[in-house]
């Protein structure tokens, strides 16, 4: 293993110390337990947006804390969900009195830990909602699996909901927006190489020089299938068509019912893309793929969406939700209306995403 680290046990701590040193104007890192809040403290009267997940996906989530995006982020060990005490402390530190929205990627660990955290905060009288993001079309059904994983859409949703919070949306309205955006988004990922977590020191899967994994998540896990590597045009076409032709997707998600005071399972059905839709297109690097290659992906993706009669109104290209040094990419398309585009364009000022101010 070749890595720029001191000792595997100290990677998270030293990364956070570095972030604090670099971005003291934007964020404040708490070390026991680990969580990151905005430097200015809680924002009074605004819904606090909190997310979290394993480390190794940087800049997500810590790099998205700041004006116009998240209020707090909880980093776990590399690729391991953070724990309820972190999330609970983050909720208390970030709550500006208007409640807390936890944006949770759909992985069993993340979902259960955020549920326990929400229960703790609710018991203390903090208004909380958990919205689960599940946009990965590589996972086909929800009946025989833990359901679609939360991947690229998370970045777009954190940006747009962050802007909504700045605009003064209340907890119910931000939650609804978050849910709708999730239902409007679909993603697909692929890998050319695996990656090495510092704790393990060896690759998470073996893959030949002429092979690729299709339908990967973001934790260095193998994908849905392995194939011989193809050209960027062929790979991009397969992924984009996979997203655009994905049919209706139905599953039950748990949400907190504020009236009943308990978790309820609600069934949601996502509708497929259709001709005339406006979308935000996000081409993401898994960490090891250079931006030059991402533009190769974007080129073909835009041709395919054009053929389907889908209009890309905004885009994001770069490494934003990564898997350490893995080579590969993901594509996310999210249907948006004018209001959502306006929220996308609103100013954002975080370590990982900055525009408009």
């Amino acid at each position: 293993m070749k890595k720029l680290i001191n000792h595997p046990d100290n990677v998270i701590k030293e990364q956070l110390e570095g972030m604090q040193a670099a971005h003291a104007d934007l964020i404040k890192v708490n070390f026991e337990p680990y969580y990151i809040t905005r430097a200015g403290g809680p924002v009074k009267g605004k819904v606090a947006l909190i997310s979290g997940g394993g480390s190794g996906h940087e800049p997500m989530h810590g790099g998205f804390v700041g004006h116009g995006m998240l209020h707090a982020a909880c980093p776990g060990e590399v690729f391991t969900s953070p724990t309820p005490d972190q999330m609970h402390e983050a909720a208390k530190a970030a709550n500006g009195g208007a409640g807390v929205l936890n944006i949770v990627k759909n992985y069993t660990g993340d979902v259960m830990n955020f549920e326990m955290a929400a229960e703790l905060a609710i018991a203390e009288g903090i208004q909380v909602q958990n919205i689960v993001i599940d946009d990965d079309v590589a996972v086909k059904d929800s009946l025989y699996t833990a359901g679609r994983r939360g991947v690229g859409a998370t970045v777009l949703i954190e940006k747009i909901c962050g802007a909504a919070s700045e605009e003064g949306y209340d907890l119910k309205a931000v939650s609804e927006l978050c849910r709708t955006l999730n239902q409007n988004a679909r993603s697909m990922g692929m890998a050319l190489t695996s990656c090495i977590t510092p704790a393990n020191g060896s690759p998470s899967f073996e893959i030949g020089d002429d092979e690729m994994e299709i339908g990967i998540g973001i934790h260095g896990e193998p994908g849905i299938q392995r194939e011989k590597i193809k050209s960027v045009d062929e790979i991009t076409e397969m992924m984009t068509v996979g997203i655009l032709e994905d049919g209706a997707y139905s599953r039950k998600l748990k949400e907190w019912d504020h009236d009943k005071g308990e978790w309820v399972e609600v069934e949601y059905v996502d509708q497929p893309f259709k001709k005339g839709d406006n979308v935000i297109a996000f081409v993401n690097s898994m960490g090891g793929t250079p931006v030059s290659e991402l533009y190769g992906v974007y080129r073909k993706m835009a041709q395919v969406t054009d053929k389907f009669g889908i209009k890309i109104v905004r885009n994001l290209i770069g490494p934003y939700i990564t898997s350490l040094e893995m080579q590969g990419c993901s594509i996310t398309l999210m249907k948006v209306d004018d209001k959502m585009v306006k929220l996308w364009d609103a100013p954002v000022y975080t370590p990982g995403l900055k525009w408009g101010m």
Partner: protein, 208 residues
């Protein structure tokens, strides 16, 4: 019967076996997960072990609850809330106990299993830790009801657990991360079932 010293021994042995088997558990999780199960369990029980001295004089229910809180706040992933809930529910059921009767041990397993199922919603055959915890709990309940001495019931539970682990190999995972692999999860042993087997074996060794 299980004395409080034996309960402490159990938790100590959990720490030892999970440390010994850390790399193996992580390897199993590399095949069908995200290569962290051994690290997660080791991190959690290391902390449990470090805190044993401070909690060893509490009642057994309180010891389990403190163990639960430590696991919940240090393990993370899916196994943190699941094993945390196991010990939390066991602790709730055994509040105030200074020692455990044979029947209490069966009650502990049942409460723990119910907690895991309540939190994770897994059923038998989903290729998870409950594929060990269900047959183990049923076997111990049956044996204790029939008057089998605890150590003997737990010796059998270890065999049942080992069988439960083996039985996960041909299964296609329906819960947790491994479920994303679909058919590709077949032919691999479930890491969480394996750690459950190690924890049951530690219980047997503590009961002798």
């Amino acid at each position: 019967m299980l004395t409080k010293e034996q309960v402490i021994t159990w938790l100590t042995l959990c720490h030892e076996v999970l440390e010994e088997n850390k790399t193996w558990l992580t390897q199993l999780d590399t095949a069908i997960g995200d290569a962290d199960h051994g690290n997660n369990m080791n991190r959690g029980f290391k902390k449990v072990y470090a805190q044993l001295d401070a909690i060893k004089d509490k009642d057994i229910g309180a010891i389990f609850k403190a163990t639960a809180m430590t696991l919940i706040s240090t393990v993370g992933g899916a196994s943190g809330p699941l094993y945390g809930t196991f010990f939390l529910q066991a602790g709730n059921k055994l509040a105030g106990k200074e020692e455990l009767t044979d029947n209490d041990v069966a009650i502990m397993l049942r409460a723990g299993l119910d907690g895991v199922v309540m939190r994770g919603k897994a059923q038998a055959g989903d290729k998870t830790m409950v594929d060990v915890l269900i047959p183990v709990t049923e076997s111990v309940e049956q044996d204790i009801n029939a008057g089998t001495p605890l150590a003997e019931a737990l010796a059998k539970a270890v065999e049942v657990a080992e069988q439960g682990v083996k039985d996960t190999i041909p299964l296609v995972a329906k819960k947790g991360r491994a479920s994303y692999l679909g058919e590709r999860s077949r032919g691999h042993q479930d890491p969480g079932a394996t750690s459950s087997r190690l924890i049951i074996e530690a219980l047997f060794n503590a009961s002798r």
